[in-house]
Symmetry: C2
Subunit: 335 residues, 2 copies
């Protein structure tokens, strides 16, 4: 156990592109548990793109982070002190906690890890929020049918790579949109995608058209902006667009202009649905069971990119917006 | 029975704004029925905005109209000659027929009028395609709940006025978007809307914000473009947008730019769904029964704007795009 407690605080609200200088480290005391409280040592802290909106966006869902206070998000940790009847020292838990070596909670949103979640890091990855996002966005909103074409953006990320593989399990033709040769190789060789295109290339639209020669039935969008624009010309009748992320837009200070999309949507009788994965919470256990089985059978692979040390949290977070990660980006805080 | 047969043909493909000079009248012989055929005298011909797309658009659904051939669309008529077992002289029918005094069919898409459809003109209006569009778009996609705010564009049209009144029946706060003081008065006094705003006024957005002080739960869109842009800043969580028409875009030769909407949709977990009313065909009888009952009870009113003479068809059609109609625009061809 480290003898001190470092926290990552939000120093300034990012105006456009977020930078590591928007964060700072702060020394704090290790919290002590009063009645009903639990103290947790962080083991893994996950960085997720949606947190960007809580730094300077609309933050409609859960409110803006306070300046000069610790960021909070999903953390896997170990209970080191408990005066809460539901938890005891040594429990491995997942919760919405501070970006810190140690944090304290009264047990709200804290739960012991599902034994299916092995290794424990998967609880914030393939069997956690990103995996659930992929599962319910694709299956509940996308409703893939065998033979359909499914396109996913940010395809090499934690969500995108799971979406594509599950679409393959459902018998679809799967096309990934990503940003490097290394990621394309990952999608084709490791994840079994049928095609992958690089949105940074000049012939992106041409390559996309070629990869989607039968049009697009499902577009699982994590990115938005210019990456997504050409998709609206490729939609098939009754296309479905699960709207999961808009990572291209999170660092904009005002709303961008783009081609209008209502007419293409209307003329294809298409559906767009934004969703919060939390709304599916009651169905998580069933999804985790099914995905754990697919992992066991080798049908669903995942990659974790782990960096060590709480001081590297800001860099890992900023890296999400620079396309630096393949699979789930994690920061390991302690063993 | 008139002694000759005039047809309205498409003379040229409109480039942008459609004009009556894109049409011409053509003299033709009155068709004679061979075995299995039916000859119909037109009584009412309806003009519907969606036909614009078949003149020079993508016409994805049913293909472009041929140049120098009669336009076709929904027609109410009387059988004047039949060698088809399903129809006899004197039957009042509705079908997808030529814009002409007389037309011939082998019975496909031809049906005898439902006795509920009285007066017969309602078969192409409140109890026809526009009414069905309002009913299924609002109830099946919009799913209004009492107390919610429902906004509809092109509110004084055949579809919009029905949408707003049905939303009132469901207990919603209803706001109409329209383009003249006369139409505003119609919506407030005759249709019972709670508020109506004029999109042509400088303070349109301000007025809209005021009328939607609790945000927008359902936006039934017939218009798109700049009329619809401000709605995306007003959406409530889990908002629904039945996408019915994009009349502002039909006369554009290329796709317009506008504010990107995917991020607002995502942040509100909202849904957009384009739809073809034909997909609900099996459920029409139940909808017609329910709407006929509402009409009987005085809860659902409709207005028909009738112009006489086949030579006025082009002007009536073009008028749709100039906002000239209140309620359903019909052309009466014969008594």
């Amino acid at each position: 156990m480290s003898a001190h407690n470092q926290q990552v605080i939000l120093k300034s609200r990012p105006k456009e592109m977020i930078s590591i200088s928007d964060f700072a480290l702060k020394q704090a005391a290790i919290p002590k548990a009063a009645d009903g409280q639990v103290v947790i040592q962080s083991l893994y802290i996950t960085v997720d793109p949606y947190l960007r909106d809580r730094m300077s966006g609309n933050a409609l869902q859960i409110g803006l982070f306070e300046l000069n206070e610790p960021i909070n998000g999903a953390v896997i940790g170990k209970v080191v002190e408990s005066k809460h009847p539901g938890f005891k020292s040594g429990d491995i838990v997942i919760g919405h906690l501070e970006w810190a070596d140690y944090s304290m909670t009264e047990g709200e949103n804290l739960s012991k890890l599902d034994p299916l979640q092995k290794p424990i890091s998967t609880a914030v990855g393939i069997l956690g929020m990103p995996g659930m996002t992929a599962y319910f966005g694709l299956l509940d909103i996308g409703k893939p049918k065998a033979g359909e074409t499914v396109v996913v953006s940010a395809a090499a990320g934690a969500v995108g790579s799971a979406v594509g593989q599950m679409a393959k399990i459902k018998g679809c033709h799967v096309v990934g949109i990503t940003g490097s040769d290394e990621k394309i190789a990952y999608l084709l060789k490791e994840c079994g995608f049928d095609a992958a295109v690089n949105y940074k290339k000049k012939d992106y639209v041409e390559q996309l058209n070629k990869a989607c020669s039968k049009g697009v039935d499902i577009y699982f969008d994590n990115v938005g902006g210019q990456v997504s624009d050409p998709l609206f010309n490729l939609l098939n009748l009754y296309a479905r667009i699960p709207l999961c992320g808009q990572i291209s837009q999170y660092n904009k200070s005002s709303s961008e202009m783009g081609p209008r999309i209502l007419w293409p949507l209307l003329s294809k009788s298409a559906l767009i649905k934004g969703f919060f994965v939390d709304d599916y919470k009651k169905q998580y256990p069933q999804a985790i069971r099914e995905m754990a089985q697919w992992i066991k059978e080798g049908k669903l692979k995942y990659r974790e990119q782990v960096v060590a040390g709480i001081e590297n949290l800001p860099k890992a977070f900023v890296g999400l917006f620079k396309g630096e990660n393949i699979g789930k980006q994690l920061v390991k805080i302690a063993d």
